[in-house]
């Protein structure tokens, strides 16, 4: 039972354009969502997060949008840079006391072409 789904295994975008990565979830108890970025031979690195009390969170070139009614979130990267080439994981968690259990999607490999 895949509770968090990233249906696009890969995405290729030209440098300077917008990259849009999508994520869907099925568990209505999820109330906190994160995006992690992973380079080869490294662990995932936290990128940006959003609480279910918001519908948008922005940090520099990265913006995450949350559509609770559709159980859908997306990550926008503008403008895309070659260093953004990596695997991006969407993750979700339920309300918890302090610590949290993350459920990850399968990942989307983003390639930025010069």
């Amino acid at each position: 039972d895949q509770q968090v789904k990233q249906n696009s295994p890969s995405l290729s975008v030209q440098e300077g354009r917008i990259s849009i990565l999508n994520c869907d979830y099925t568990n209505s108890m999820f109330d906190y969502f994160l995006w992690y970025k992973k380079y080869p031979a490294e662990g995932p690195t936290f990128l940006i997060s959003i609480s279910s009390i918001k519908d948008k969170n922005e940090d520099g070139r990265f913006t995450v949008f949350l559509n609770k009614s559709a159980k859908h979130l997306s990550l926008h990267i503008v403008p895309s840079q070659p260093g953004d080439s990596a695997v991006y994981f969407c993750a979700a968690s339920e309300r918890a006391q302090g610590a949290q259990k993350l459920v990850f999607g399968q990942g989307t490999r983003l390639t930025i072409n010069p």
Binding site: V4, Q6, Y32, Y36, A41, E42, G43, P44, T45, F46, S49, S51, S52, I53, K54, F89, A91, S93, G98, A99, Q100, K101, L102, V103, F104, G105, Q106, G107
Partner: protein, 119 residues
Amino acid sequence: EAGVAQSPRYKIIEKRQSVAFWCNPISGHATLYWYQQILGQGPKLLIQFQNNGVVDDSQLPKDRFSAERLKGVDSTLKIQPAKLEDSAVYLCASSLVRVRLAGERDTQYFGPGTRLTVL
């Protein structure tokens, strides 16, 4: 600030052998997690510690996997005996548990992982 340390980085064993992985979390982080990431999939939580107590081990295959957190700091994850399907990257993560504003959560910081190949 030093990150999460893991060793070894790579390990190749034959099926039915035993293997152990080590993790040193970021200093002061009370919560420690072990994840299994199979090729082409996202990380899956195996076990979560808060200090030296287990918070969640519902997805740990307890017939062959075991984990402990020594004195609430370092942790080891053991597989005995290993199966072919255990081939994966084993990631350790840690987070700082503290009171936060409504809607905020602690960030989990990941180590580089140990790539296990079972032949």
